[in-house]
Each structure stands twice: as structure tokens, then as C-alpha cells.
């Protein structure tokens, strides 16, 4: 069984419709650790050592957050700034994350069509996630395709439930079947089917 660490950042989780349920669907599962960043560090004063210890014991790291202004909420960025230290996560002696897997599990108000060259936002979602991809690469991690729930403003409850079920199945699959080659080839982890 693999260890999965979920870093969840939502500045107003009590008003969240998607991320909160996404998190709840995997809460308490064996070998799955969830850090609710805004709950743990309300003052942005991240305990670097603790976070690094958590990373060491994880095989897969998931950045779970809504997409704000084409990026993560600020505490997620603070976490990246403080925890992924030089000569720990990257650099000559930065070997502690090597070979681990990383991906974003995100929600966007805009639909998949809005995130295309012809759409409202002008670029596909994956291009906005480029900084995360390169961050993973710099730390010698394997960056998997994102899990993306789009169009959350108008999503039907049936569709949302479907996505959440898919996510939970994906997490269990990641935990129990350590062969991720197929997953790497997918456009989105949403397309995962056992």
C-alpha cells in the first residue's frame, strides 16, 4: 500500500461546494493523510520541519485546491515557498522528494470549454498548471495529469457526485496499485477507469 498525502488549501472551506466534498470523500481512509492547510496554519506560519517529515513518509502528494486567478490560494504558495527548501527538495543535496508523485486536484468555476484556446480564458487548464509541473520536475518528482472538476457554478448534483465517486476510486487505485505508467499518459486523471 502506498502512502498518500493530500495538501488541501481552501481559505473558506465552510462555503466550499466541491473541494470540501472531495476531501470528505477520502477522509479517514487508510494510508491517506490530509492536511487542511488553512486550518492548521491560520497565521501562515508554516511548521517547515513538520511538513517535511510528512513529505518524507508520502509516496504520492496531491495538491487539492480551487483555482484562483490561474493559481493556487496563497497559503499553498506559501507552503511551496517555505517547505520545498533548497538542498532539501531541490539542489545538489535535495534528494528527499525524488521519485515521488505529484498532481493537482482542482476545481474551477469555468467549464472545460472556457479553458481552451478559443474559450474565455484563452489557454487549456494544463498550461496554467505549468508552474506546478516544473516545481515537481525540479524536485525530481513525477508530475501526473490533474484531476479537474470544471464548471462548478452550474454543475448538477448528479454529475458532481459522479466526479467525487471517480476521485475516490482513483485514490484507492493509486494507493493499492503502484503501477502509474498508464495514468501518466492520460489527458486528465478524471479519465481514469479501472
Amino acid at each position: 500500500m502506498k502512502n498518500i498525502l493530500v495538501l488541501m488549501a481552501h481559505p473558506k472551506l465552510e462555503h466550499s461546494k466541491v473541494i470540501a466534498r472531495l476531501m470528505a470523500s477520502i477522509n479517514g481512509l487508510e494510508n491517506i493523510e490530509i492536511t487542511d492547510l488553512y486550518e492548521r496554519y491560520p497565521d501562515f506560519n508554516i511548521d517547515v520541519q513538520h511538513e517535511q517529515e510528512m513529505l518524507i513518509s508520502a509516496d504520492i502528494v496531491i495538491l487539492m485546491h480551487p483555482l484562483y486567478w490561474y493559481s493556487a490560494p496563497p497559503l499553498m504558495k506559501q507552503w511551496i515557498d517555505l517547505v520545498l527548501e533548497y538542498n532539501w527538495a531541490y539542489g545538489h543535496k535535495g534528494i528527499y522528494l525524488k521519485g515521488k508523485y505529484l498532481f493537482n486536484a482542482i476545481s474551477t468555476g469555468g467549464s472545460i470549454d472556457a479553458y481552451s484556446t478559443k474559450g474565455h480564458h484563452g489557454f487549456p487548464i494544463k498550461e496554467f498548471l505549468l508552474p506546478f509541473k516544473q516545481t515537481a520536475r525540479l524536485c525530481n518528482m513525477v508530475y501526473l495529469p490533474p484531476f479537474h472538476i470544471a464548471g462548478t457554478h452550474n454543475i448538477t448534483s448528479k454529475k458532481l457526485q459522479q466526479e467525487i465517486n471517480d476521485f475516490k476510486a482513483l485514490i484507492l487505485h493509486l494507493r493499492d496499485n503502484p503501477n502509474y505508467y498508464k495514468l501518466e499518459q492520460l489527458p486528465f486523471l478524471n479519465d481514469f477507469k479501472q
Binding site: 517547515v48 515557498d81 527548501e85 538542498n87 539542489g91 543535496k93
Partner: protein
């Protein structure tokens, strides 16, 4: 039999001490236990008490009066106003429908309309004492059954006024020389003046409550003599009851009104906890008296008739109640508790029956039988409820279904805030600004007064008393904040809470390190040294003024507090070892002095390379070498 006061007291108390625990052990409520005690020591079994039972009854009725005062205390006028619909819909229909049905039956069996009216109005009323005591004991006051029962009982208490007013009128019609003088001291006045006096008395209670009782209690509270406050509380209740009896109103209703008026005062919880034992004991005495007054001689002579009447009264009353419950959409199991709980004839019937006899509406024999029926029906109620609980509800299987919370009665607060000084009021204001209402207790009656004038809901009382905390809702609350300055008071409060309310999460203000140690030893999980945060905040501002970057200082300050608290836990471990303690204190002072520079020069840069390009530059250069 010996008639000395001490002997009497011993008989009553020992009967209660023996019977009540026994009854509770078998799963019956305390009410049935008291009733049994009364039957046992009554004239027909052991004969310890005889004729004086009736006097005892009058005295003990004061328990009912006190209970209504306490109920009034828990019902603020706004809550009562919210209940108005239930009182009129459920309560009024019960009184009217039941009276009508009894009247119809009695009239059809050939009893005169006067007698029928007197009997049917009396039978319609239920026993406040038995019903509320049982509901409270089983924690059902806040269920649908509890609220509806309460509404009915309240309406019945109000109905007492017109019933007492009507009886002399019927009597006047019956015999011209009826002895009306017994009714009340004001009965000699003409009708319009009586009415005026009745209204005057009610208004007087309201005015007294506002402008005399509260200032008096405040004055008494200032003496800080607890027994004097208990005396003051008794004086309030006795005074109102006396006034009501003067004008011929139900003292219970009057004290209920007084209670409602005082419900908004700061003395609410203190009054409750002081009067509670009196109420309990007097109510017990009342039930014993009811038990003792059952005339078994009469019952055995007319056994069939008495039992037949009792059972049909119980049946008719519960059927009417059940129907009303059904119309008002009370769920089946709640409706059963509601209908069976109120099915007995109330203690008030003792009054009306003897009153009606005095007025020559009823003859002695009828009254005796009716009184026996009343007492029997009261005795049956706890048995009926037991039967309902064990057999009916158990089979319906909806007992454990979660009750939907209603709006009529407010749930008690989750947070209790003890001490409302500057510190406490800051905590309270912050909570209130975020919609969290705390029950606030303070022991300074002057401050309580001032704060109430400013619109805070603060209650007066000594928070280290378990009964007061209980009244303030400690059972339902989840957090107790102590914003009290005095360490000794805190010490007493903490040990009391840990003993009586272990479920409460304690959050305690400490004056300094020494207090914090004490509380740590008592295993208080959350300790707040009163000066720590603001002192550090001041230090931060100094650093910023000296040119430090604000964000860096912010992080330094947070770490400083963290290290400081960790250091304190270390110190607490060696607190009792004087030598080690001094050594540790020295070390702690050293540590504290070094802390900032430590932070700045070593720890901070060691552990925290955030936004620091120097280390990366150094590292890259080393790699090249």
C-alpha cells in the same frame, strides 16, 4: 399519636427517605415514591398522620407555587409570547372541550347544571406538580410532549381565575344566603371593585418585580451573605403568593408571573439555585399529603363506583388530549406521553371541591368521593406513565427517534463565560460579534447591574457553586471559559468543574506563570496567561519601529510564544523540586533572554531558508568547488 413538630418531621422525612429511593430503584419516578410514602404513613395504613394531613397539604401546596415561580424564571417574556399560539390552540381547546364533555355527561345523568358545571371545570384541570415533575425528571421538557403539556398547564392555571369567579355566581343563583365570605378578603367589596383589585394586584406584581424586587435583591447581594439572599428569594415568592391570595387569584399563577418578570434579571440563576431545594422538598411533602389524603375507607365502601369514575375520567381526559395532539400533529409516541401525562385531575380540584362545598353547590358525600377520585387519578398517573414507557412506547419503537428542535424554546448556550471584567468582556464581545451567545456569570452585583444597563445579558452569582453552574446550563454547555483574575477562585472553580461537569472543556485565564503552573498541575488543557499576547504584540511593534520588517517580526513573535509555552511545560515538570525549580527558572530566564537573538542569529536562519537567495548562492558555490 405524638403530635410534636419534630416527630412529625421525622415521620415525613423518613417515609420519603425510604420510599423515594425504593421507587426510583424499581424504575418509577420520585412522584410515585412520595405518593407511596404518603399512603404508607397515612391514616389507613400506619396511621402516623391523620387529620392534620389537610393542613400539611395547604402548606405543601406552596411547593407548587414555588415550582411555578421557578418555571416562570426560565421563561422570559419573549419566549412566553412565542408560546402564545400553543397556549391558546392546545391549552384552550383542552380546557373547553374537556369541560364540555364532562358537563354533558354529568348533566345527562341527571345532575343539576350547577353541580355539573362545578365538577366538570374542576375535573378538566390537570396536576401541574405531577406532570412537570415527571417531565423534568425524564428530561422531556423540551420535547413536543413537554412543550404542549406545559402550554396546557399554563392555560389551566389561567382558567383558574374565571372558574373561581364563576363558582360564587352559580352559588348565588342556587342559594341566596350562600357564604361567599370565605372566598377571599376582598369578597366583601362590590363586583366591579373586586375586578379592579384583581387587575391592580397583577399590575402591582409587575411593578414590584421591576422596581422593588430587583433593587432589594441587589441590596441583599451586596452583603455577600448567602443565607440572606436565600431569605430574600423566599420573601419574593411568599410576598407575591400572599398578594395573590388577598385578591383571590391563584398564588401559583401570581408567582409564575413574578418569575417571568424576574427571568430577565441578573439574579435569575442565583434565585433558581437557591429556591430549588425548597421547591423539591415542598413538592415531595405535597405528594406525601396527597397520598395520605386518600380516603381508603370511603373507597372500599364505594370501591366499584370510585374506581369506575376514576378510570372513566382518566380515559375521557386522555382521549381528548390525544385528539388535540393528533389535530396539532404531534407524533404518536410524543402524543402518548402528552395524553397520558395530563390525564389526571389536578391538585387544584381539592381547592375547588372544598370551595364548592362551602358554597353549598356540592354536598359532603359527593365532595368526599370526588376528592378520592382526584387523589386516585393522581396516583395512577405515574403508573400510567410507567406502563406507557415500558409497554406502549417500547413496542412502537419510535422512542429514540431524534426530536426535531423547535423554535419555541431556546436551546441553552454552548459556552459559559465566568467573570466579566475587562478581560472577560473582551472575550464575550468577540464571541458575540461572531454570533456566539455565551451565558455570562459574574459575582460583582454592581458590575452586573452596569453591564445589564449596557445591554449585556449577565447573571449574578458565585460561579464556584456547582448548583449555580447547573442552573446556568453546565450540563448542556460544552465549553467553560474562566476569565476570572483571582487564582484562588479559579482553583476552586476548576476543581468543582472537574468533579461535577467533567465533560466541560475548561479554558482558563492565568495571571502569570505561577498561576499557569497551578493550573497545569490540575491538568487544565487550555491556559491563557493574561499578559503574554499583548506584551509580545507591544514588543513586535517596538522591533518594527526600530526597522525590522513587519512580516519577519510577526513570525518571530509567533515562534517566541510557542517556545515560551514549551518552556513553561518543562518548568511545570520540576515545579515541586525547589532546587531544580530555581535552576530551571534561571535557565528559563537565560533562555528567554537568549530567545530573540537565538531566533534571529541561529534558529531562524538555520531552520528557515524562505525567500533567502544567499543560502542558494552559497550552496551553488560549494557545489562547484
Amino acid at each position: 399519636m405524638e403530635n410534636g413538630f419534630l416527630f412529625q418531621a421525622i415521620i415525613y422525612l423518613s417515609a420519603a427517605v425510604i420510599c423515594v429511593p425504593l421507587a426510583k430503584k424499581v424504575g418509577m419516578g420520585s412522584v410515585l415514591g412520595y405518593l407511596l410514602a404518603g399512603i404508607v404513613i397515612g391514616p389507613y395504613l400506619m396511621g402516623f398522620i391523620g387529620e392534620e394531613g389537610e393542613d400539611i397539604m395547604h402548606f405543601a401546596e406552596f411547593g407548587v407555587v414555588m415550582m411555578l415561580f421557578l418555571i416562570g424564571l426560565e421563561l422570559e417574556p419573549s419566549k412566553l409570547w412565542k408560546m402564545r399560539q400553543m397556549i391558546t390552540k392546545v391549552g384552550l381547546s383542552q380546557v373547553l372541550v374537556t369541560t364540555l364533555i364532562f358537563f354533558g355527561i354529568l348533566y345527562l345523568t341527571g345532575i343539576g347544571w350547577r353541580q355539573s358545571l362545578a365538577i366538570s371545570t374542576s375535573l378538566a384541570l390537570s396536576s401541574t406538580a405531577i406532570t412537570l415533575q415527571s417531565l423534568k425528571e425524564k428530561n422531556q421538557m423540551n420535547t413536543a410532549a413537554g412543550r404542549n403539556s406545559f402550554a396546557v398547564l399554563l392555560m389551566q392555571d389561567i382558567a383558574v381565575i374565571p372558574i373561581l369567579a364563576i363558582l360564587p355566581l352559580i352559588a348565588l343563583a342556587a342559594t341566596s344566603e350562600a357564604d361567599v365570605g370565605h372566598m377571599s378578603p376582598i369578597a366583601q367589596f362590590p363586583g366591579w371593585l373586586q375586578t379592579l383589585l384583581v387587575f391592580g394586584a397583577v399590575i402591582l406584581v409587575v411593578i414590584l418585580g421591576r422596581y422593588v424586587m430587583v433593587p432589594m435583591l441587589r441590596l441583599v447581594a451586596k452583603t455577600r451573605l448567602r443565607e440572606l439572599f436565600v431569605g430574600g428569594a423566599l420573601l419574593v415568592v411568599l410576598g407575591i403568593a400572599f398578594l395573590m391570595e388577598m385578591v383571590g387569584l391563584s398564588p401559583a399563577l401570581g408567582t409564575f408571573l413574578g418569575g417571568v418578570i424576574l427571568a430577565n434579571s441578573q439574579f435569575k440563576h442565583e434565585l433558581e439555585s437557591d429556591l430549588e431545594p425548597f421547591k423539591g422538598l415542598l413538592l415531595g411533602l405535597f405528594f406525601i399529603a396527597v397520598g395520605a389524603s386518600i380516603n381508603f375507607g370511603l373507597i372500599s365502601e364505594n370501591a366499584l363506583m370510585v374506581f369506575a369514575i376514576t378510570l372513566s375520567v382518566l380515559l375521557i381526559k386522555s382521549l381528548v388530549l390525544f385528539g388535540i395532539g393528533k389535530v396539532n400533529k404531534i407524533s404518536l409516541d410524543q402524543n402518548l406521553i402528552f395524553a397520558l401525562g395530563l390525564s389526571q385531575v389536578g391538585e387544584f380540584a381539592f381547592v375547588t371541591f372544598s370551595f364548592a362545598t362551602e358554597l353549598h353547590i356540592l354536598n359532603e358525600k359527593t365532595t368526599e368521593i370526588l376528592m378520592a377520585v382526584t387523589a386516585l387519578s393522581m396516583t395512577f398517573t405515574p403508573l400510567l406513565m410507567l406502563f406507557n414507557e415500558r409497554l406502549l412506547l417500547a413496542n412502537i419503537g419510535t422512542k429514540n427517534k431524534e426530536e426535531k428542535p423547535h423554535d419555541e424554546m431556546e436551546e441553552s448556550n454552548k459556552v459559559i463565560l465566568a467573570g466579566f471584567s475587562h478581560y472577560g468582556s473582551t472575550v464575550g464581545r468577540f464571541l458575540r460579534a461572531n454570533g456566539i451567545k455565551a451565558t455570562i456569570l459574574d459575582s460583582d452585583s454592581d458590575r452586573v447591574e452596569l453591564l445589564r444597563e449596557m445591554g449585556f445579558e449577565v447573571y449574578y452569582g458565585d460561579v464556584t457553586r456547582a448548583d449555580l453552574l447547573e442552573m446556568a446550563g453546565a450540563r448542556e454547555a460544552s465549553i467553560l471559559i474562566s476569565a476570572i483574575r483571582d487564582p484562588d477562585t479559579n482553583y476552586r472553580l476548576i476543581s468543582m468543574v472537574q468533579k461535577h461537569f467533567p465533560h466541560l472543556e475548561l479554558m482558563v485565564r492565568a495571571q502569570n506563570r505561577m498561576d499557569a503552573f497551578e493550573f497545569m498541575e490540575m491538568k487544565v488543557p487550555h491556559i491563557y496567561r493574561q499578559n503574554l499576547d499583548s506584551a509580545v504584540r507591544m514588543g513586535k511593534d517596538v522591533l518594527i519601529k526600530l526597522g525590522f520588517r513587519a512580516h519577519t517580526v510577526h513570525r518571530l513573535a509567533q515562534n517566541f510564544i510557542k517556545y515560551d509555552e514549551e518552556g513553561l511545560t518543562e518548568l511545570a515538570k520540576v515545579k515541586d523540586d525547589k532546587k531544580a525549580y530555581i535552576k530551571t527558572v534561571k535557565k528559563a530566564i537565560e533562555m528567554q533572554e537568549n530567545l530573540l537573538s537565538f531566533e534571529l542569529n541561529r534558529r531562524f536562519s538555520l531552520n528557515d531558508h524562505a525567500w533567502d537567495s544567499e543560502t542558494i548562492k552559497d550552496g551553488e558555490e560549494k557545489n562547484k568547488e
